[in-house]
Amino acid sequence: MEVRDRVRAFLDEHDPSAMSRTEFLGARFDAGLAWVHFPQGLGGLGASREQQGVVEQLLAGTPGPDGRQGIGLGMAAPTILAFGTEEQKKRYLRPLWTGEEIWCQLFSEPGAGSDLAGLATRAVRDGDDWIVDGQKVWTSGAHYADWAILVTRTDPDVPKHQGLTYFICDMHAGGVEVRPLRQITGEAEFNEVFLTGVRLGDELRLGKVGEGWRVAQTTLMNERVAIGGGRTERGGGIIAPVLQTWRDHPELRTHDLHRRLLSLWVEAEATRLAGARLREQLTAGVPGPEGSAIKLAFSKLNQELSGLEVELRREDGLTYGDWTFRRSDEVAMFSRDAGYRYLRAKGNSIEGGTSEILRNIVSERVLGLPQEQRADKDVPWKDLPR
């Protein structure tokens, strides 16, 4: 049966208005219409990636996953699919998809940002379990997450990339402490997470011991596509609120701003088309380093457009919505004020790989230029200066 027919049959049998969002998403998973390129029984049909577009189109307007599921859907799921055991896939993918279980990402540390492979959070074997100690930062959603994808150091005596192991971490386990981390926007969208003697069973390990770097690469490639790969219409995305202000306020327009806005409009459209072209290339394959480039382009655009918008608003640009320290569950780029957008966009070139690291990735993995000269390549992690 064609994917199209399956969606129609599914809709005939399931009325979204007669069931909860969780039930509807669960039924969608069971029908293989969550992510059609996943295997049967795991929310998919073993179909091609491009068929997902057909599904999204036909199911538009029905209840879908929410923003809190972003890390689970965009990063944890593809990683579990690629490296998980059959048991792990059966256990985690369905509640991840329905939103019954929320995921976060325990990667970055105070001492390991761009140099992620230098991370220091230790996992030490204790019988059938692992004991984890360390500190993670910039963890979105840690305060409401049930599970985390976690990278740890299991062998400090080998060079840094070889001594890492990847786990699924139970965020409700003893020894997991989540503290809000206030950002330049005034609120806490991120957290720092302290792991003190956290006991994780070996069945929570994802991939082989010492294989953590390879597993993390899968997560990161998917993250960059998730950050940069959104589908927009011409004039949509981050440029939309700027255009709205421009049209609503003729009195704010100047010749200089007009030229700059036109240049950015062209850049936004060129970037949108390049993203669409990349998605066409990716439909058959898996995310490659090209996704890093699109993320690079979108973060620059977000920053320049939001900066222009604050300037355009003149006196209003001198104001700010709300500095109150509070938790925020998702990044609300479009429903908030220009000042928030300007400040929040500064994170775009830092989160998910800084723009500088992404340029290294493009130049080395896409263009084949020589790798950075490095002092840490063949040295055991424990002997590295830090």
Binding site: W265, V266, E267, A274, A297, N360, S363, V366
Partner: protein
């Protein structure tokens, strides 16, 4: 609508690239630029007879191949990559599109000759003409024929026939004199066309086909520019991997790696806009975006090529300058970045300040 290349287009690209690799190496292009024959007519004959590039946009009923702009765009990419001195853009795209749009019997008669490459045409307007601001020519029409001078015309030297806008109509003329101007772009020089009581054939009763053809040619010019940018990028990338200073390839320095990563991304965006503009019936915004983005990116690619080649990039013997000159000339051809942005302001509803300078 796909932004990727079809298998057929890749096949066409392969044929054109192979022929150009054989007959149009940079050394041959360079050797020609200071001769009296700026266009390589042997190469043009090979492209038209062996591959049939001239008739791509012409329907089969008129002797052409009935292909789409997407195929013509791939040919332009390859010609741009080689800075090939052939009248493809000027005859097989600009003049051909004008004739197709006018659709008169006289136009169709000319198209049959153009399709095979047996005859070549040029349009007697400056290459610097913006599709959004086509001014009337200085050519006058009297009982004796057409008289006047048109400057800045590209592709005039090899043309058998020129299409001349005059008196609000378009005329075909075969009796004309060409004087090549000393041109910035040495691989597509501009020339002055002189008409002295020249007899003509009426091609179109108004100049709408000219405006249309300029706009559609601007759309496809973006693909030529992508080809130029791609050569500059590939050549530079190969050079920085090989050139050593301070006992390291210069391409191992972040200052250079990061510039090339940015340039690669800019060219990837240019390719996406150019593919979008090579669809069958692009709207005004699509064309303006392709030009407004691709023109400055291509110039930047050529400038980076010269800079990152260091001393050798500044020499006459290295072909980088041919691409710099083509890139800069292309950025003026058929509307500048600013002209295309002005059109976007109207077409995409981004109005200028109501009081001139605003505050």
């Amino acid at each position: 609508m796909s932004l990727l290349y079809s298998d057929l287009q890749e096949e066409l690209r392969g044929s054109v690239r192979a022929l150009l690799a054989d007959r149009c190496p940079p050394s041959a292009v360079l050797a020609r630029v200071e001769t009296d024959t700026p266009y390589d007519l042997d190469l043009w004959r090979a492209l038209t007879t062996e591959i049939g590039v001239a008739g791509l946009l012409i329907p089969e009923s008129l002797g052409g191949a009935g292909a789409t702009p997407g195929e013509a765009a791939v040919v332009l990419e390859e010609l741009g990559r080689s800075c090939a001195p052939v009248p493809y853009l000027t005859s097989s795209v600009l003049a051909t599109t004008l004739l197709l749009r006018s659709g008169t019997p006289a136009a169709e008669k000319l198209l049959a000759d153009l399709a095979s490459g047996a005859s070549t045409a040029a349009v007697a307007v400056s290459l610097a003409t913006s599709p959004y601001d086509v001014k009337s020519s200085g050519v006058t029409v009297t009982a004796d024929g057409l008289t006047g001078t048109v400057t800045g015309v590209a592709g005039a030297e090899p043309a058998d026939v020129v299409l001349v806008p005059a008196d609000g109509k378009i005329h075909a003329v075969t009796d004309f004199t060409v004087h090549t101007q000393v041109s910035l772009d040495q691989t597509r020089p501009i020339a002055t066309i002189e008409l002295d009581s020249a007899r003509s054939t009426r091609i179109a009763p108004d100049t709408e086909p000219l405006t249309y053809a300029l706009s559609r040619t601007a759309a496809l010019l973006a693909s030529e520019q992508v080809g130029v940018a791609e050569w500059c990028f590939d050549t530079t990338l190969a050079y920085v991997k090989e050139r050593k200073q301070f006992a390291r390839p210069i391409g191992s320095y972040q200052a250079i790696k990061h510039r090339l990563a940015d340039l690669w991304l800019d060219i990837a965006k240019a390719r996406a806009t150019a593919r979008n503009a090579a669809e069958d019936d692009p709207d005004e915004i699509t064309i303006a975006v392709a030009q407004a983005w691709t023109s400055p990116v291509t110039v930047h690619a050529a400038e980076e090529c010269v800079q990152l080649h260091g001393g050798i990039g500044m020499t006459w013997e290295h072909p980088a300058h041919l691409y710099l000159k083509r890139a800069k000339a292309d950025s003026i051809a058929l509307g500048t970045q600013g002209d295309h942005q002005d059109t976007l302001a109207k077409a995409a509803n981004i109005p200028a300040t109501p009081h001139g300078t605003g505050h």
